[in-house]
Symmetry: D3
Subunit: 144 residues, 6 copies
């Protein structure tokens, strides 16, 4: 249970109310997400956060919306955030991601979290020539 | 400096040598990456790790190689792994990713790391209806 | 549910019992907190931990008790520790912290967690001149 | 070394240039901090981040600027962010924080990081009555 | 509740089925652990993971099985992974670990998590001479 | 470079000096480790930390000194603490640990960090029957 009360839509005023309205319009929901009902206590913070959020999840930007949700899920898994894992998995399913693709995403999360700690635990030196130009991998990628 | 010596290609034998050869062939480099020169001390571990690594970075799989490097960079940033950040940024540049796209990727990493800790710090309850069906976001995504 | 049984006050002996008594007296509660009922299995560990704990939460020290609870909440949010987030939020409310102040605290936690990972993900170089002497910020702070 | 080039003040245009000017004016420095020279590639992101940053480090808000730098240092230590640890320690020294106070801050960081993982490692149950009303600690705090 | 369905033993085919059979035989259980029922969506990933898992938890290796479970519990506590903490504590109890020993393990986890963040928060320099040859500790260890 | 000056042995007084003497005697070194030269600013904190430290690294306790250094290295790798990784690897080498054993330790660290995030990213449910009684693993362990 949240440690403080949510600042509900019905109680919101001024800039908070304005942002809440934009959130509801953008997401097509009857009330803003809980994270915003908590940010709402500090209106300017809510407003700046919502601006950033729209850059990630409303605008395609350079990377596209789906890819940005995928990044979000990978980071939320790494940080063990149940709230965000659930929301963004639901969103990715809406965007057509299959169960197998989600597991493949987590395969990468698994591998990277492991490798990150392995190289740190042995203090591996920087890689001076990360990838050679003539490998199978490069020829393959070049062919795409 | 690494806390133990690297098991160099010239010293490798048996299964370790075999995997080293496959790594060099796959990446087109004259010696395996340092992470594998450390795993090489435990041959079966090296072999199983290399299998997983190829699934991520050699095979397209469901998500495609580029996307899997993007996930890798997002997780490595979250875990503060200099070694992996450097390698996979280099690889993503080879695959055509621009500076602006890399910053946009880190914009998502920034936002998500922040939101993850915000909701945990206030113990936000699970979102019961994460996204409504009629929002601007959905209509937009539907149009893709 | 805890993975091992709590060492209850009624079962405690020797140094563990002594520390339990001091905890109850200090906090005015009928039994020690659960964290101490687990530490109690290793009496010297319990004793040294309790000494440190009093420095943080009983003695004003250099920073004052309230500030030390604020630091505690920021770190516990970053580490996703439900147990500690709940206890220290409750304590901060007792010490007069408002809901708005708690959200402002989490605004900083959000920002910093995001910035930390952003700079790590791009390997930002050290800042050579972090803050200039004549900025609005400095003149303002100087006026306090 | 940063993995991409900094977008320097001399190259900035439009909204990025505008924010850079505000940063320089606010901090009294001849060029923006490196973190903003990286965010600058995505102007709207830079703008929204800078808004949040001013709420934390320019405006007193509910908690005061110094306290918000203290929270920042505690979180940056927990996340192992050299860049942020260095900047915010320098800032706190400017604001009058002594070496002894910085160590006391890190004493709390040490204790909390340890306790967080201890309770998680034993799956401690939620504390039902965190603090009793008649303890030494409460009477003391009441006397402040 | 898991965000995707488990790929149950009764539905598994090909390499996934093969690995499931080996898991059941190895652990003496009627169905594979949930983590493998999720990995099962990507058969090669499951197979490579299971190889590594056997090196850790089936083969004695250099360190012995019990020690490897102890390392696992220490890391899982540090990462706040309820699922893994519970499984590996149960396993360690089967292998004869007492409640007191588990608390002592968490005492180390507590101390190290705290020290790690303390030295990072103050940017402590590398230790040039970590341990002297004539200390009480060395003579003691030498006597073992 | 540390963000504050070390409180050197030659400057120490009172309880700090006393603890420094005990550290030097215990480790057989001419000056205390840097971590203690920083804790030294808050004498009671130094004293309580040193008590805990001796329980971990001077006394055998329930688990033995070597095992406690192994746990320390696993946690420090997971937290990316260069300072602690270096010290405790050096100590483990003094205690006879081989390069291959250190890699095997990191194999477990790799696996567990990966699994932790995999199960969190998919919100795997608790395992109701973690290990069956008749598996190969159990018969093997029973035979030890």
């Amino acid at each position: 249970m949240a440690t403080i009360g949510y600042l509900r839509d019905s109680e919101a005023e001024g800039k908070t109310k304005e942002v809440y309205e934009d959130i509801k319009r953008t997401y097509g929901c009857s009330e803003p997400h809980k994270v915003y009902e908590l940010m709402g206590y500090v209106p300017e913070y809510l407003a700046a956060s919502w601006e950033r959020s729209k850059l990630c999840f409303k605008d395609e930007g350079e990377l596209g919306i789906k890819l940005k949700h995928i990044i979000t899920l990978a980071v939320s898994a790494t940080n063990n955030c149940d709230y965000c894992v659930n929301i963004h998995t639901a969103r990715l399913k809406e965007l057509g991601m299959t169960d197998k693709q989600i597991v493949e995403l987590m395969m990468v999360v698994d591998l990277v979290n492991g490798y990150n700690r392995f190289v740190q635990g042995l203090q591996a030196d920087p890689e001076t020539k990360p990838f050679g130009p003539d490998g199978l991998i490069h020829r393959k990628a070049g062919a795409r």
